[in-house]
């Protein structure tokens, strides 16, 4: 936390190195979030790119009031939602997930590290986007329901419902997989 404050302080003074450190510190986590929300590595890279360029433009005026990680996670979630609105998510099948996150790609491309995560991403992609977002932000990135409610501009009760329904659907999907 203190390290982040120093990084932000130096970033606001125009330090490239501070910006680089912020990116390197959070890039994998943010990419993971963007992939979980979009089920598309290329799209996730675009989301993280846009978030950091936008963050860089705030140099000199950026005011960190809470956690930098939460702030950047919220930015990624917002950007991913915007991107998702203009994308057709119906083709986000397991095959598509395997294709976009294939391990055959070289080190110059981002990659999801394990099969279990790919399976989860595929399942999440079949949920309504708002439910997927709540589950990912809460369980993977530790955002509180209150913050997610603000992000989605709905009440906490609605967020809790979306979370519960989302988990129920995941359980049903897994149940279906087990039966088959």
């Amino acid at each position: 936390m203190l390290e982040d404050k120093i990084l932000v302080f130096r970033f606001n003074r125009g330090s490239r190195e501070a910006l680089r450190r912020i990116y390197e510190k959070y890039k994998d986590d943010l990419l993971g979030l963007a992939v979980a929300l979009s089920n598309d590595v290329s799209l996730a890279e675009d989301v993280v790119h846009d978030v950091f360029v936008s963050f860089a433009q705030s140099v000199g005026t950026f005011n960190l009031t809470g956690s930098l990680k939460s702030y950047l996670s919220t930015c990624v979630a917002n950007r991913a939602r915007d991107r998702n609105r203009s994308m057709n998510r119906t083709d986000s099948t397991l095959e598509a997930a395997d294709e976009t996150s294939s391990d055959v790609i070289g080190p110059e491309r981002s990659a999801i590290c394990n099969e279990e995560s790919k399976q989860l991403i595929n399942l999440l992609s079949k949920l309504p986007y708002d439910q997927c977002e709540v589950i990912v932000l809460h369980l993977h990135h530790g955002l509180k329901f209150r913050r997610i409610a603000k992000l989605q501009s709905v009440s906490i009760n609605t967020i809790q419902s979306r979370y519960r329904y989302g988990l129920d659907k995941l359980r049903c999907m897994l149940d279906g997989e087990v039966k088959t």
Partner: protein, 292 residues
């Protein structure tokens, strides 16, 4: 596949771990650096700065005047003795410095900045007097070549700010947003926190203007985002309060990173500041201009 008993744990345990590829690293960093510098360049051409830039402007100088030797001369004149003092001297309780300055509501100090322009054989310099009245407000008088260039009054309690340009006989007055009013640019405290939160090197005892001090130094390359910067902090052994802060770093000026030396000194911690200090007293023949 077994149906997980705890779906939440199932999801948590499968958090995607994504390794960013070289392509995205290069693309993000190149574009972000370009965006950052473009923003800095755009801000540098704005004559009348926003509230958030007050301290930036005091660090990033705007004058072509004093020579590079100015900083060295200042250091000599105030008589910093890095090798003075006895080894028997009491030391600064470094752990208590931050706590102490956090509890002090008011402080008055000076900032001297010299920015070099490598290859152009010139420098820019400013000196500023800062009156930090805590929750009441702040005032900064910036001098260029000894001439008062601009005065900034940030009246936090009243949520009003005034910028006055005596030479142009102009001023601007605008309301502070809640964010602007509560966002305090507090250079000395920020620097002290930066230094003391890191693995600093003790410089030993010294004497500044007859005050026994002890110093520490942080090489900013050891700090997150370090740019080969060096920050030194000299603290009064008796009072445990900062006496002088020296900064050597690269700062953004006119669209480029330039070597800058900054000295913050003449501290008057916990001084009583008359509220009249924060009254703009704008002469009747000054013209009000719109804030940019």
């Amino acid at each position: 596949m077994r149906l997980p008993e705890n779906i939440e744990r199932f999801v948590k345990n499968r958090k995607p771990h994504v390794t960013a590829g070289a392509d995205i690293d290069n693309r993000v960093l190149d574009d972000s650096f370009a965006a950052m510098e473009e923003t800095m360049r755009a801000k540098s051409v704005v004559n009348q700065p926003s509230i958030r830039r007050i301290i930036m402007k005091s660090r990033i100088t705007k004058l072509a005047a004093l020579a590079a030797a100015a900083v060295i001369i200042i250091a000599v004149l105030i008589g910093v003795n890095y090798f003075g003092g006895s080894v028997d001297m009491a030391g600064v309780a470094w752990g208590g410095v931050i706590e102490k300055i956090e509890q002090i509501p008011t402080v008055v100090y000076k900032i001297t900045s010299v920015t070099s322009y490598p290859g152009e054989n010139r420098e820019m310099s400013t000196k500023s007097d800062i009156y930090d009245g805590g929750a009441y407000g702040r005032r900064m008088d910036m001098y260029k070549n000894g001439v008062l260039s601009v005065q900034k009054f940030i009246l936090v309690e009243k949520k009003i700010a005034y910028f006055i340009w005596p030479k142009k006989k102009q001023y601007t007055r605008f309301a502070l947003t809640d964010d602007q009013a509560t966002t305090k640019e507090d250079l000395p405290r920020q620097y002290v926190k930066s230094i003391l939160s890191e693995d600093y090197t003790k410089l030993g005892h010294g004497n500044i203007n007859g005050i026994e001090v002890e110093g520490v130094e942080v090489n900013k390359s050891k700090l997150p985002g370090g740019d080969k910067d060096v920050i030194r902090l000299w603290v009064d052994i008796e009072t445990n309060l900062p006496i002088r802060i020296e900064l050597e770093c690269m700062m953004m000026e006119s669209g480029a990173q330039r070597p800058t030396k900054q000295v913050i000194d003449d501290f008057q911690w916990d001084v009583e500041i008359d509220t009249s200090v924060f009254e703009p007293n704008i002469p009747g023949d000054f013209t009000q201009v719109e804030p940019r």
